[in-house]
Amino acid sequence: MNRIISKLQEDKKLLSIYFTAGYPNLNDTSTIIQNLERSGVDMIEIGLPFSDPLADGSTIQVSSTQALKNGMTTERLFEQLKDIRKSVSIPLIIMGYFNPILQYGVEAFCKKCSEIGIDGLIIPDLPVNVYFDQYKIIFEKYGLINVFLITPQTSNERIEFIDSISNGFIYMVSSASVTGSQSGFGSKQSNYFKRISNMQLKNPQIVGFGISNNKTFLQATQYTKGAIIGSAFIKHLTEKGVDTIDTFVKSIVK
């Protein structure tokens, strides 16, 4: 069974962490992954850096630019990950923009992911209909789960369609914003979380964007299965490096 599916069946709120591969240093990838698992994180999103990350705020932009400067490439990331399953057993997801994947070749990319033991992909700018028409077959052939995003503006009809073609979880973007906004959650978000929760979708929801501490983690997971932290973790890496990951994770799930 795909590791994402079995993880989702555990009776707990899940914490998933995003980091940009190749940042702060080119070869930090496996250390970060191992430290995250050891700290009790449930799932990891490995960011494949892109020169033009449209949906990201400044923190992830800067980390992506630096990662590329450090020399990160698709091939190098696969090389760094090739033995990762010897030491890590939690679900691993690659998050990246579509162009680098298209250049690598979608099928070649999926094949490599499955050889390594990657469980799923999040490709924010691969539209649902294009995935459905052209790539679903390939993802399924390699046992990869493709995770789709919904936002507070997504219509119910579209959410139902996305739910029907998803087979893992739905990535719920907390508010209309790029990554890294720090404004906290108010009644607008909790109403939205509640509204989606009441839709009784077949796939559980995990909330991302704007989660940075224990408070926002608890707010985000009150009505959902889990939460994803990206920018706040990257800030931690920038300020404290890769050795104190445990402190960061403990500050989120107390």
Binding site: F50, S51, D52, L54, A55, G57, S58, Q61, T65, L68, T73, T74, E75, Y97, F98, N99, P100, I101, L102, Q103, Y104, P124, D125, L126, P127, V128, V130, F148, L149, I150, T151, Q153, T154, S155, R158, V173, A176, S177, V178, S181
Partner: protein, 413 residues
Amino acid sequence: MVKQENTAIPIGGSEVVGGKELYNINHKGYYGEFGGAYIPEMLFPNVEELRQNYLKIMAEPDFRSEFDQLLKDYVGRPSPLYFAKLLSEKYQTKIYLKREDLNHTGAHKINNTIGQILMAKRLGKKRIIAETGAGQHGVATATVCALMGLECIVYMGEIDIARQAPNVARMKMLGATVIPALSGSRTLKDATNEAIRDWINNPIDTHYIIGSVVGPHPYPDMVARFQSVVSEEIQWQLQEKEGKLKPDYIVACVGGGSNAAGAYYHFLEDTDVKLIAVEAAGLGVHSGESAATSILGKEGIIHGSKTLLMQTNDGQIIEPYSISAGLDYPGVGPMHAHLYKTGRAEFIAVTDDQAMKAGMALCKLEGIIPAIESSHALAIFEQKKFNADDVVVVSLSGRGDKDLNTYINYFKL
């Protein structure tokens, strides 16, 4: 050619493409294999709202009449189709200049911003965002926002802000807020990224006025339709001047491709009319300092569109170079990618030096100071021979006022 009186048809022609058109957009939002809307879900409601409404709105009689009226009284259309006698003598062919440089704000860009501001109003939007490179599109957007009383925010790369100070001042005088794009290479591509991020952050009340035939569907088609007034005018103007319905060649520079799309539009399917697209080769196509996207580019995704773009083997977008800020874009509109791939248009690359010389030659021969973008189109007469009776229409997309500093530095004036 008489103007279409059938008001149920959107600007630019029928919405049903019917399978006959080989070069225009199909009903799925693609030109051949190029186009589409490769956007994050956060943008879907905005882009979808536009997709569902743009043709309907463009077909409304009051929309058309407001658009036509503003183009006539405010922009100063029709722009002249000028027979350049001395230039024609020099190159032994018949050269007509389509004088978009005489439009209000000095370039073709305003045809699009007039159309889009009317569209934004019909969609009930209160806030306008735009990206700009040279500042021409920014000025054209700030202008129509002033005209319509809408808030205007223009993203511009930090480096371009320094290069194009007069246009920054113009935008401010017109009431726009200019926000520097500090990310990436701090030029047009990054200004576009910032505008898109702003749109993600403001999904309800904001319309993004994109400045060329780029971006996710329906933008390339919508912008091409607004610019199609250019080829519509060429048809009847040529009839008046030459007794011909169509030219033998149409020549236009291509940054994103909007002035070219406008000049080609009504002739796209008529292969008697040969299309020439001129790209900026910078210091030379293979110098590493170039913006010749079609030659150097590979298929990929940029700013929500599948098209040709300059990128590394790894799919990272490469920063282009051209002396002309308006051609300094690493992608090209999906229509042009298709025209390139199918061979419908001939693509010619022109270096900085060739363009600057051609620009200066036009000043001396015809008394017209062209935008450096347009100078690229003029430079092809040094590279390509035409027959004496060929009618060659060149899109003179803009005037050179904004480029004075570059001309001064280049020619040590």
